[in-house]
């Protein structure tokens, strides 16, 4: 089932359709990603946000088919449109996949301290990334490495080329990682929490660099993060994930102004905002993220949802809203990801009936969650 209407003009750069990635552990099958659908347009930045364990990193790793065993892609398509052809990365043979990794899709990791090989110089590592995909001489690869270090604005690039990772600071290493990811002019860069391990000032520099490079090189970026502030600053589109599924995808401005999914509404309400008057505790969403082994049936957010409509018998909490005739209860069926406004997709039965969308300020001030 293709849940998203086809784009009017051109195919998206990357379209993930109903991706299922599960880990087969002795404790049983754990579906870390369970039916994720996403699309990324050329030259745009898509932010994927969600709590720890919601499957955002596994989604990214699935795109590059780097999910470590016992994880396996079990279903779905990952359509990557590059150079006039569309490849299904979920089934592409391994040798062809290798030329996609690094060549057409670059990846930036969370931990710059450990993502560089300690025994090689920075220049060697960037040059290696070039040599893996281009038939060029060692000198040309080294020249490219220098060019990349200049591009990511590392101080003293010529000297840094011959230095080892342990001689660089975290921010500098992340710049090197970005240089490596971009060395072969990929069409897409996946950045898995690229700033989480860095301190705030360096974070801002790295994000600024990423935005600038995207504008200059036209590379599409998938930015995985749990920081809503980062998303607001850098992303064109946002996908919100919860318990292995995308619950809402919309342009960033739209999502922040008019969140439709109860989980997104809750997330935005939980942010501290500059306008907050009192110094009380921050708002929270009641309950806990369910473990993948114990995902609830139907909408996975319903046990924590203030709007959940459940059959009367199961409502001990008093939160239950009487079900109008003919409507499915939230715990009975998986709500489809459907379009509620142009480009705005929500996975909730009641997205339309939740009343007029509210702005983030209203949510923060009014409080939807008692």
């Amino acid at each position: 089932m293709i849940e998203r209407p086809p784009h009017p003009r051109h195919a998206p750069l990357l379209a993930i359709k109903n991706l299922v990635t599960a880990f087969h552990t002795p404790a049983g099958r754990i579906p870390a990603v369970d039916g994720v659908s996403l699309s990324i347009e050329r030259g745009r930045t898509l932010g994927i946000v969600g709590e720890s364990g919601c499957g955002k990193s596994v989604t990214a790793m699935s795109v590059l088919r780097l999910v470590a065993s016992p994880g396996r892609i079990e279903a779905g398509e990952i359509l990557f449109s590059s150079g006039g052809t569309t490849l299904d990365l979920a089934t592409l043979p391994e040798p062809a996949m290798r030329s996609v990794r690094g060549g057409r899709i670059g990846m930036i990791f969370q931990e710059p301290m450990t993502s560089l090989n300690p025994v090689f110089t920075v220049g060697d590592q960037i040059a290696e990334a070039v040599l893996l995909h281009r038939r060029v001489s060692r000198e040309a690869a080294r020249a490219r490495a220098l060019e990349m270090l200049q591009l990511v604005r590392l101080a003293d690039p010529r000297q840094r080329l011959d230095e080892y990772p342990h001689q660089l600071s975290g921010g500098m290493r992340q710049r090197v990682m970005i240089a490596m990811a971009l060395a072969c002019d990929p069409e897409l860069v996946i950045a898995d929490e690229p700033t989480t391990a860095l301190d705030v000032t360096i974070q801002a520099q790295i994000l600024e660099l990423l935005s600038e490079l995207r504008a200059r090189l036209g590379t599409a970026i998938v930015l995985i993060t749990h920081d809503l502030g980062v998303v607001a600053e850098t992303c064109d589109d946002v996908a919100v994930m919860y318990a292995g599924r995308v619950v809402e995808q919309a342009p960033a401005a739209e999502l922040f102004a008019r969140p439709r999914h109860p989980y997104t509404i809750g997330l935005l309400a939980a942010r501290p905002s500059p306008g907050m008057k009192h110094s009380g505790p921050l708002r929270t969403i009641p309950g806990m993220v369910p473990l993948p082994q114990h995902f609830p049936a139907g909408c996975r957010f319903h046990p924590r949802c203030a709007y959940a409509r459940l059959p009367g018998a199961e409502s001990g909490s008093g939160r239950a809203v009487p079900l109008p005739a003919g409507e499915l209860p939230c715990n009975a069926a998986v709500p489809p990801l459907h379009e509620v406004a142009p480009g705005h997709l929500v996975r909730c039965f009641h997205a339309e009936s939740l009343g007029p969308p509210r702005s983030a300020q209203e949510i923060a001030a009014g409080g939807l969650f008692p």
Partner: protein, 359 residues
């Protein structure tokens, strides 16, 4: 780590070398092994009965190379019936000839006869050959000079260590790397195979293999020691590969499009090499001991190769010849000790935990 040091610090190995140099004992051991290598290479020039370089009938020859391989002896000397004795034959058959002689005129394979070197008596044999000015380490029961034997035996001692551990290291690293990197059934097979080989007592296995092979030679002995001594290295390599396979930089290399062979050889192996080098160094020491033990038991390389262990074997027939035990034993002891000191130095120079503890 000292990141604030103003001097430019090099790579991992440059750092390790900097730390290694701070340990005087380890450094002395390295110098000793280096000196042994020089002795092994120059053995025919240090002790021998053939000229290092000579001019004979208008041509230059280096007959001493015959000690490395008999085929290297120039044919002209066989034609002119030298029969291996050069000093007088050279003068008699070509009065214009000249020769540069080894530092110490003694043969590792036979006793030097009377007047072979003008004016020098024959080597004493049996109990007579105790250490003296002309024979610092004495002679064995056939009158062969012990110092000459030991100088030429250095080659064997060093070769045994390097060749057998080179072989063991290669087998161990390949098996360990495959098991650790591939995991799954490959790991099952390689680990069980390693354990099976481990279960058999090494010396018994070596003796059994030595008994089977035809025409024993020093190379076959080395091959056998190597083929049985890789288990520890394989286990350690497997562990290192298992650990590094999960590391972020390996994931980053895979994300950059590197294939499994490149990841194993270029990304994991250099990082795993430091801990693997340590047991290889200790392995060299134990290979030398094993070879000595084999020679002592009479299963060593046959006579033409003079090994330190076979000198010890000679001593068994006559216990009054203490010099046959003391000098080769001391040489084996010092060499094995040196390799162990080098291994320990390597360990402390490359292991971050020990490094911090020593500070």
């Amino acid at each position: 780590m000292t990141p604030t040091q103003p001097t430019r610090s090099g790579g991992f190995w440059a750092e390790a070398w900097r730390r290694y140099r701070r340990r005087p004992l380890a450094l002395a051991a390295l110098v000793f092994v280096g000196w042994l290598a020089v002795v092994a290479l120059c053995a025919p020039a240090i002790a021998g009965t053939k000229p290092v370089l000579c001019r004979y009938k208008g041509h230059l020859y280096a007959p001493c190379l015959a000690f490395f391989d008999r085929r290297l002896e120039p044919a002209v000397f066989a034609r002119d019936r030298f029969r291996g004795t050069y000093p007088q034959n050279l003068k008699e058959k070509d009065p214009d000839s000249w020769a540069i002689w080894p530092l110490f005129f003694q043969d590792p394979y036979r006793a030097v006869r009377e007047n072979e070197w003008p004016g020098r008596p024959a080597n004493p044999a049996r109990d007579e050959g105790h250490p003296s000015a002309s024979h610092p380490f004495g002679t064995d029961q056939y009158g062969v000079d012990v110092l000459a034997k030991m100088v030429h035996g250095t080659t064997v001692a060093l070769l045994v260590g390097f060749v057998s551990m080179g072989l063991a290291g290669t087998i161990g690293i390949v098996i360990g790397a495959l098991g650790g990197y591939c995991g799954g059934w490959v790991d099952m097979v390689t680990s069980r195979f390693t354990e099976i080989v481990m279960c058999i007592p090494t010396l018994v296995l070596i003796l059994a293999l030595t008994a089977i092979i035809e025409k024993p030679s020093i190379w076959k002995t080395m091959a056998i020691i190597g083929a049985t001594g890789w288990t520890g290295i394989a286990r350690l390599t497997r562990g290192e590969f298992l650990r590094l396979r999960q590391s972020e930089f390996v994931m980053a290399a895979r994300a950059a499009g590197a294939g499994p062979v490149r990841i194993m050889l270029r990304h994991i192996l250099p990082n795993a090499l430091a801990p693997i080098l340590v047991p290889i160094t200790f392995g060299i020491a134990s290979a030398i001991l094993t070879e000595s033990a084999l020679s002592f038991l009479g299963f060593g390389p046959p006579p033409p190769s003079a090994s330190w262990g076979s000198l010890l074997n000679d001593a068994r027939s006559n216990y009054s010849m203490w010099w046959l035990v003391v000098f080769p034993g001391l040489a084996i002891f010092l060499t094995v000790l040196s390799y162990n000191l080098i291994g320990e130095g390597l360990q402390e120079a490359t292991d971050p935990r020990l490094r911090e503890a020593r500070k």
